[in-house]
Amino acid sequence: MTPDLILFILLAVVAVISALGMLLSKNAVYSALNLILNFCTVAVIYLVLGAPFIALAQITVYAGAIMVLFLFVIMLLGAERLNTGETLPWQQPLAVFSGIVLAALAVYTIFFRPGTFPEPSALATGFGSPESIGLKLFNEYLLPFEVVSILLLVAMVGVIVLTRRKTPKSSR
């Protein structure tokens, strides 16, 4: 029972419980808060795995920007009051059964037919630091980087066009 294993089990339990809380909560705001907890827990797991830049980017982008956007929209639409209508009666049991089958297949593949993994060794210094990410990003992955910047611009333009109200044309 090394300290690494204890830490991982603690983080994994918190992550799974908060994910289940997001799934099963009737109030959309509680779901969003559970998901924020899940993201922060996964960010700590990234830190343990030697990815400090990605861990802090996860907290900043996912928990700090994306989930805040979700909370804005939830409050804007008043979605925390969930009104239940009639549902297909066979949908939920079938979904739960499919989820259990997927989880069982994944666990079987990972634990009983994994192939070979390299032996975990100590990390080189500077692994996962912003410097090494920057070197890779601007040398080998320069084209995807530029394309992603254009993608963000397109997304911004798209959102503004989608949510624009059609005003009646006034005579000028």
């Binding site: 959309a28 030697g50 979700f70 639409l77 390299p118 996962g128 798209g158």
Partner: protein, 100 residues
């Protein structure tokens, strides 16, 4: 470091919970949040393999996945807001105007 199978198992469990969220819930925003959970589970698998193979390429890919996820969330929530304006509901069972 923890054996890699445990981390991949955690990633698979989080992905399954996200997939069940998409299938079970009918609130469009909760479905969206489950999609983000699935993307996050994929990111965890990438970081795990990056650590195991001592390669930075996995972390660069996670960087791009996060950027694409942010753009997708912005557009998707804009769509949900636009739909809510006309239908006054975000229950996906009522989004059947295109159906026969």
């Amino acid at each position: 470091m923890v054996p890699i199978q445990y981390l991949l198992g955690l990633s698979a469990v989080l992905f399954t919970i996200g997939a069940m969220g998409v299938l079970i819930r009918r609130n469009a925003i909760i479905i969206f949040m489950s999609i983000e959970l699935m993307l996050n589970a994929g990111n965890l698998a990438f970081i795990t393999y990056a650590r195991s193979h001592q390669s930075m390429d996995g972390q660069i890919f996670v960087f791009f996945v996060m950027a694409v996820a942010a753009a997708e969330v912005a557009v998707g929530l804009g769509l949900i807001v636009a739909i809510f304006r006309s239908k006054k509901s975000i229950d996906v069972d009522q989004m059947n105007v295109l159906g026969g």
